[in-house]
Every structure is written in C-alpha cells, then in structure tokens.
C-alpha cells in the first residue's frame, strides 16, 4: 500500500473499508465478522462490498431460522411429482458458490448451520445426504457474519469466528464517516487476477506466526488467514511479493482483533539487535507476562526487524479494553454453565418448533401432517400397485396411502425441566432446635417450585446414611406428606447426603433435566463417608463431597439451619459453589427470594 492505498489511513472506517476490499479480492479464503447494530454504517459497508464484487457473484442472505432443507438442499417435491422424476432443489450454501453468504444475526446462529457453514468454508463444498439425495456440490463462498450481539457474552460462535479473517467492529463509527468503496469493481477484478501470482517470503510467514504467538493467538488458522490477507493486500496494491506494508495491514486486520495478551515488544530490549546465529532455545509456550528478553531469542529465524514491525502494527491496533475483557472472561469458572434456567434441549414436546424428524406420534410427540403427506407422496404409485396385487384389502376409499414409515413428528426446543433436590438434615443436632423450622422452609420452597411446575425430590439424612425419601415427582402433596413424617435424631452423615444429592442430580441431568440442590443443614458433620463417627474425618469428607458437586457444575443453595450462622455450613456452601443463606435471618420472603435466585 504505497501512498495511494487505503493502508495508510488507520481510522476505524478506513480499516473496515480495507477489510471489505481485501475480502472482495479473495472472499472464499477470507471472511468477515461484522459487529454492528443494523443501521446506516453497516448498510454502507455492505453496499461498498457489493459494489466491489463482480456483478455476477451472488450475495445471499441467510436468515436466522433457515430450515435444514433450505440450507443444504433437498427434494423439490411438487416439481418432482409433476415431472415424474426426481428434481432436487439447491440449498442456499450451494447457491452461494462463487459469491458471498451474509449470515444474519450470527450471534444467535444455531449449532447445525454453524457447523455446516464452517465445513463449507474449510472444504469448499457442501455434502448432502437427505431424503434420497446424496452428493456434494461446490460451495466456495465468502462469509459475512452480521453480529448484532450487545454485550461481551454475545457473539458469533467461536468456531465460525476462528475461520473468519476479519473481525470488525463498526459500532463506534459515526454514520458520516462511512463513505463509499475505496476501490472499483475493476480494480478488485484486476487484483483477483493477480492474486495467484503473489508470493510470500518465507521469513514473512515466520513473522506472522511469531506475531500471532506474541499476541497470544492460539489458533493456527489466524496466521494462515493473515498470510492470505497479506496476499490480497499485495494483489490490490499491485505488488508481486507481499511487502512490509501489506503484512502490517494484514496484522492489523487479522491478528490484532484476536489478541489475548499484550506483546512485550514496546519495551526497550526490542531495539537490541539479536545475534543472528544464536542457537535456538527449545521453544516453550511463553506465559503471558514473560519478560521481553526471554521471549525474543526463541528462534533465530523469526526475530528481526520484520517481526518488530508487525508487532508494532499489532499493538497500535489492539482495541483498548479488549485485553481487560479477556482477563475477565478467563477468570470465569468452567462450570458456570449450570444456569438457573433449564438448559436448552431438543427432544421436547413443546416450545419452539425446530425441524421435523421421522418417528411415530408417541409419547406426546406431535404429528406434522404436511410433512407426513410430503413423505408419503412419492410412494403412492408403488403402494397402489401393491394393493392391487394383494387384493386382500378393499380398494375403496383410500385415495392416499399413508404408512407408518411416513409419519413425521415435529421437534421442539424448550427449556428443560428443572429438578429441585431438597436435602434435609434430620440429625439430632438439628432436631433439637430447628427441624420444624427447616420443614417450614422446605414447604415454602416447595411452593415456589410448584409455581414453576418443577419436579422436586427429597433426601433426608440422619444416623449413618442418607435416604431418598421422595424420588423426583411433581406432586406437592406427596412431598409435603413425606416431609411431615420425617423423624429426627441421630448423627449427621453430611458426606453421604451430598453424595446422594450429587448422584441424583447427575441422573437427572442425563435425563435432560436441570437439577438444583437445596441443602438444609447446620453443617456439623460427624459421620464420615464410611460410616465411622468423628468430626474431623466427617468434615473433610463433607468438604470433598461438596467439591464434587461444584465440579459437576450443579447449581445449589445452602440454608444454614443452626441458631447462629456457623463457619462449617459456610465452608460447605463455598466448597459446593452454592449460595449461602442463614436461616435465622431468613423469613418467608427472604427464603423465596433466595430460591428464586437459584431455582
């Protein structure tokens, strides 16, 4: 980009426009994730992209709720029946071949379309195995993922982002800055023609890899995409070889937005010339905040002015605040996925329709009549013949022969059911003072669960073991009854209770439910897991069992039922990653608030 190119101007819009131009040069290798609210800026970006693409290239928009059939292709049934032969309809991915696929609302993209798009990006073709059709069609297209996500948590799927070269954020650009395309379609076409002849020097590739490492970019797709972007930049600028400006632009556009750490290149040691023949140290993964000195001499080949230049370009273009955000993300616990709302699952009987599958309308599944008729239609000739041959059945009446195989049922997505597992301490220590109050608290929580149509289960522990008093049920009456008849007295086998709760929660999760463990105890364990008495061992076992629950990621609530809040109960709560609530302070309102927060 010498002088006349857009590479010299690094305002956000200029960078976004450069990305559009490079993408237009090599759409199927590069790809764009465009974060912006719908509006004039995004529109002008898309318009300028359209203007740079060849007029013949399709630019297709993929709506969020596209059906599998429309995406991948399928049978055009009416055409097939009319023509009397099989007529396939092409899917959107195959139609986009040679052009651009605009993925709308990519932050909500489903797993299946995401996987299919990703596979097409990788292999340039789409495989179809649906309803009597099998085959592969070329699907080499560029992807523009429109990401309208609001917060940091929302965004296009990571696996798709990994494959898209440019991650652009348009949200900070005022509309007046968004101008027209920097290049004409003719210039882009010329660059396309040149693209295959552009070469990249080997040390340039080293430089991209080293820069990616310095920025903490793990995926190996990133340096590869940077190389391709640099090639497109060189082709656009009319260079035969990728030069430093092209490379710097590629780093700015491809690597910087992926940075997970600040390169330590802006410090003075960067300027020291490295002895070129220094033997390479065995390169280890550099921890993020490593000293500059130890980072540089990793490999003699790759240190040098080029890498410095690329890293400098990268630093200049790392969005402020990005790294802080990443730090926050990393500190998040792994098992945070156990939400209060039921996890999404597909095998539901109500909720949002999501596709159709063959199967019988049993167990509450609903027959999809249109799809069933569609499935039956092609076989009518055969079936009529068969019936005529058999002559066992009267021919009257049945205009349309529908068999069991044709049945199609609608699948639904819904939030899965929640199971609240109550684990009640009925030991002597508790029975003495507060078993009745604990029972009252459970009743309150049961009412809460009942309102939400959740299932409840009840585990009580006393003496030497824990007992499942009430297997998961929706019956509030049964729950109340078994609670009322709960006797008190004996030791506190807390570890056994936690294990039992964990096992039940695990079983529930396998059934597709989302379990929550609600524990009522004073935390004074005195029976160890093996049934032996003794506070020390019992306490250790209880903490260990509580950790298991946390590691499994089950949400929980621990209500401390001792007269004064005790450290033991608090320790158990934090070991199991549960909310802690001391009963002395808990009136009905506080209890139900806490339950709502967790359930």
């Amino acid at each position: 980009m010498t002088g006349d190119g857009p590479g010299m101007d690094f305002s956000p819009w200029a960078l976004a426009a450069s990305a559009a131009a490079l993408f237009a040069v090599d759409p199927s290798s590069l790809g764009v994730a465009l974060r912006a609210a719908p509006g004039p800026v995004r529109d002008s970006w898309l318009q300028s992209l359209r203007a740079m693409l060849p007029a013949s290239a399709p630019v297709l928009r993929m709506p969020l709720n596209i059906s599998d059939e429309r995406l991948l292709g399928g049978i055009d049934l009416s055409a097939s029946l009319n023509a009397g032969r099989l007529i396939a309809s092409r899917g959107l991915l195959a139609e986009a071949d040679g052009g651009v696929l605009v993925v709308a609302m990519a932050e909500r993209l489903g797993a299946l379309p995401n996987a299919v798009i990703s596979a097409s990006v990788d292999f340039g073709e789409v495989a179809l195995e649906r309803e009597g059709l099998a085959g592969r069609s070329p699907a080499r297209f560029g992807v523009v993922a429109l990401d309208e996500g609001a917060g940091d948590d929302e965004g296009a799927p990571a696996s798709l982002m990994d494959r898209l070269a440019f991650h652009i954020d348009l949200s900070s650009i005022p509309p007046r800055e968004a101008q027209n395309a920097a290049f004409s379609a003719r210039e882009i076409a010329a660059a396309r023609a040149r693209l295959n002849t552009v070469t990249v020097a080997s040390d340039m590739i080293d430089g991209f890899c080293a820069t990616a490492m310095a920025l903490g970019v793990q995926s190996l797709r990133a340096p590869l995409l940077a190389i391709k972007a640099a090639r497109a930049a060189a082709a656009l600028a009319g260079h035969n070889t990728v030069n430093d400006d092209d490379a710097a632009l590629a780093v700015r556009l491809v690597l910087s937005p992926r940075a997970t750490q600040t390169p330590v290149a802006d410090s003075a040691p960067e300027e020291q010339p490295e002895p070129p023949q220094e033997p390479p140290e065995p390169p280890q993964e550099p921890p993020p905040q490593e000293e500059a000195e130890s980072k540089k001499p990793e490999d003699e080949d790759i240190s040098g002015p080029l890498e410095d230049l690329l890293i400098a370009a990268a630093i200049a273009s790392i969005p402020r605040g990005l790294l802080e955000k990443l730090a926050i993300n990393e500190s998040r616990p792994l098992a945070a996925s156990a939400g209060k709302a039921g996890a999404l699952r597909k095998v539901a009987r109500r909720g949002r329709p999501s596709g159709v599958r063959s199967g019988e309308p049993r167990g509450g599944a609903r027959l999809n009549i249109v799809e069933t008729l569609r499935a039956a239609a092609p076989w009518q000739t055969i079936r009529r013949h068969a019936r005529a041959e058999q002559k066992t059945l009267p021919e009257q009446g049945a205009r349309l022969e529908i068999r069991r195989d044709d049945f199609r049922v609608t699948r639904y997505k819904e939030r899965s059911e929640t199971l609240s597992i109550f684990v009640v301490d009925a030991s002597g220590s508790l029975a003495l003072n507060r078993l009745a109050e604990a029972k009252g608290a459970v009743e309150l929580l049961l009412a809460e669960a009942y309102v939400r149509r959740d299932q409840v289960a009840l585990i009580a522990f006393r003496g030497k073991n824990a007992e499942l008093l009430l297997p998961p049920t929706r019956s509030l009456t049964r729950a109340k009854r078994s609670l009322a008849s709960l006797p008190g007295g004996g030791g506190t086998p807390l570890a056994a209770a936690l294990d039992a709760a964990g096992a039940l929660a695990d079983a529930a999760r396998r059934k597709g439910q989302t379990p929550t463990i609600i524990m009522l105890t004073d935390g004074r364990a005195n029976i160890a897991r093996d049934g032996s008495a003794g506070r020390g061992k019992a306490g250790e076992d209880a903490i260990a069992s509580a950790r298991l629950i946390r590691a499994a990621g089950f949400a929980g609530l621990l209500i401390d039922t001792s007269p004064q809040a005790t450290p033991q109960a608090g320790a158990i709560a934090s070991a199991m990653g549960a909310c802690y609530l001391a009963l002395p302070y808990a009136d009905a309102a506080a209890l139900s608030r806490a339950a709502r927060a967790v359930l």
């Binding site: 290798s29 599998d68 995406l71 991948l72 029946l81 009397g84 032969r85 099989l86 797993a111 299946l112 596979a119 990788d122 292999f123 340039g124 073709e125 789409v126 495989a127 179809l128 195995e129 649906r130 309803e131 009597g132 059709l133 990571a158 696996s159 990994d162 295959n196 990249v200 590739i205 080293d206 991209f208 890899c209 080293a210 990616a212 490492m213 995926s219 190996l220 797709r221 590869l224 190389i227 390479p280 390169p283 990793e298 490999d299 790759i302 597909k346 095998v347 599958r357 063959s358 199967g359 092609p378 076989w379 000739t381 055969i382 068969a386 195989d405 950790r547 298991l548 946390r550 499994a552």
Partner: protein, 330 residues
C-alpha cells in the same frame, strides 16, 4: 468421489497422538473407533480426509454396492477399490444413513428398489462424523445399534433388507460445543486429545505446509508422495504381522494393573489397551508387546473410560499418566 486433492497424511505436522491412533485403527479395526476431541484448527478433519488416500486398496465383489468381501474360493469376480472413508454430514437424514427405497425409481417407474445408505458405503472402512457432539440423538442411537451388531436392517414398503455394516467410527469435535453422551463415548476404542502446538517452530511448519498446499495442491501432494508411500507400507506390513504379535503374560498383567489403578469400568478398557498395544507393536515392527507399547497407547485407550472424579482437579490425561508412572515406574 471428490476430485480435489486432499492434504497428505504424512504432511500433517505434529499431532503425533492423533496420527498414531488413526494408524492403529487402520491396522486393527477391532480396536473400535477413534474419538478426536480438541482445539479448533488442529487438522482433525484434514487427518481423516487424508486417510482415504493413504490406505491400500481393498478387494470387493465386483459391482457390490455393499463393499462385500469376496469368498475365499474365488468363485466370484472381484475388483479393487479404495477403502471407504465416508463422511456423515450434519443434517443427514435417517433414510440416507440406513439406506431407503430409491425415490427416483419410485417416482418414475413405480418400482421398489433399495438404495444403500452411508452405512453400506462405509462397510469395511471408516465412518467419519465431524462435530460428533452435534449429531442428532436419533441418528446416534441408530449408529450405536448398527456398530454393535455389525449389521444394518431396513424395512420399508414391504421390502426387508439386511446387509453387513462393519466400520470404524471416527468422531471429531470440540469440547466447547458440547459434551458427548456417555454411551457414545464408551463406543470409541481410542480417544485422542488434540491441542494447538505451542512451540513456534512447529507452528511455523504447520502454517507453511498448509499455505504451500493451498497455493498448489497438486505439486504439494506430488512432493509428499514418497513419505506417503512409507506410511502406507508401514500399515500394510503391520497388518500382515498383526496376527503373529505375541502378548506375553507380564504385559497382560501390567495392562490389568494399570486398569485397576485407574479404576476404569469393565473389561473393555483392558481389551482395547491390549489390542491397541498389539497394533502399535506391529506398526513399530516389534514381535511382541512390551511395557513401552503399553505406556504409549494407554492414554488414548483409557482416558475416556475413567470414572469421573472431579475431586481430582487434574484432567483425565494427567490421571492416566500418573497411573502409568505408578505401575511402570517413572
């Protein structure tokens, strides 16, 4: 099938564990499938797609749509074909997996004719599921059923078809996209974790090879033909030797000790470990299984069979390694 050149297996840099697991499955299909889980962009799909080009040809009954093995007496005509590596694309419908009546012929001529599905195509070869954790449950159930029985049965429109369907299931996926059902996990003989290489020299090599391939696939494939041939010969000779590899009693005892130390469920782990070690010895050109074979393949054969013990903060790989050190000595 596809005419586009595929990235040569031999040119895949690093990822030794993944490559070894695939080779082991190619030598002895009875190890029962390979599961590859790990980071994005580590060449999971690339390795599987490379497999088809790597394997030696197999002999089938001429014109067989089910890749049938010819009888030994030579009574039928035979032909050579590539070992199938069949892709099960996401969004595949059940009828295409099991096979169904040929829709075209039903429409045009009103005939009943069975159109074999992916399971028939994969017989004696490999069935590859990318993003296996995203596969629909009912398809997974179907696959498990066929994989267990080695036979596919289809009943439609009064037609009843059964054909052999024995294949090596290869699944790949990214753990971030979702966990695998335990039943499916257990179906796989070997489980491999892939990670993006972290040393710069390997990373540069990966990127350079990939870039060279994408620039000129044909030339790149040609340049690697020799290496590819070496790997192929290794597989061929390992297959020949496999039956003669001895498994001495001490090795069996060590395997049992390792499984006990890990508390892995059932005998399946032990069995897989033995078979894997034997295939590995065959690949190495050794005549009997010894400790180092067991050590090398134990992580792949056992890490997905551990009872979950989240008390242990370490991942399952670390636990297997710890047990190896315990049993074999450091």
């Amino acid at each position: 099938m596809t005419t586009r050149p595929v990235f040569p297996f031999a040119a895949i840099a690093a990822q030794e564990e993944m490559k070894l697991a695939i080779l082991i499955a190619a030598v002895d299909p009875s190890v029962g499938g390979v599961l590859i889980f790990g980071d994005r962009g580590t060449g999971k799909s690339t390795a599987i797609r490379a497999l088809a080009a790597l394997l030696p040809l197999m002999t089938v009954v001429k014109g067989s749509r089910y890749n049938l093995e010819p009888p030994a007496d030579g009574s039928v005509e035979t032909e050579q074909m590539r070992v199938p590596v069949v892709d099960l694309p996401l969004g595949a419908t059940e009828d295409r997996v099991t096979g169904a009546l040929d829709l075209e012929r039903a429409l045009t001529r009103g005939e009943k004719a069975f159109e074999p599905g992916l399971l028939a195509r994969a017989h004696r070869g490999f069935l590859y599921i990318d993003e296996v954790n995203l596969l629909e449950d009912h398809i997974v159930d179907l696959l498990l059923d066929v994989a267990a029985s080695g036979e596919n049965v289809v009943e439609r429109e009064g037609l009843s078809i059964r054909h052999p369907a024995r294949f090596v299931l290869i699944g790949s996926g990214n753990p971030e996209e979702g966990e695998l059902r335990p039943q499916l996990l257990d179906r796989f003989g070997l489980s491999v974790e892939v990670k993006t290489p972290s040393d710069i020299a390997t990373r540069v090599e990966v990127v350079k090879r990939r870039d060279a391939f994408e620039r000129d696939p044909a030339a790149f494939v040609a340049a690697w033909r020799g290496e590819e041939e070496i790997v192929r010969n290794r597989i061929v000779s390992a297959r020949k030797r496999l039956a003669d590899i001895k498994v001495p009693d001490p090795a069996l005892e060590q395997a049992a000790r390792l499984c006990i130390a890990l508390g892995s469920d059932g005998l399946r782990g032990e069995l897989t470990l033995m078979r894997t070690a034997r295939a590995l010895a065959a690949l190495d050109g050794d005549s009997s299984v010894d400790d180092q074979h067991l050590r090398r393949c134990a992580p792949s054969a056992l890490r997905h069979r551990l009872r979950r013990n989240p008390l242990d903060e370490a991942g399952s790989t670390v636990r297997v390694e710890r047990a190896i050190a315990e049993v074999f000595g450091a």
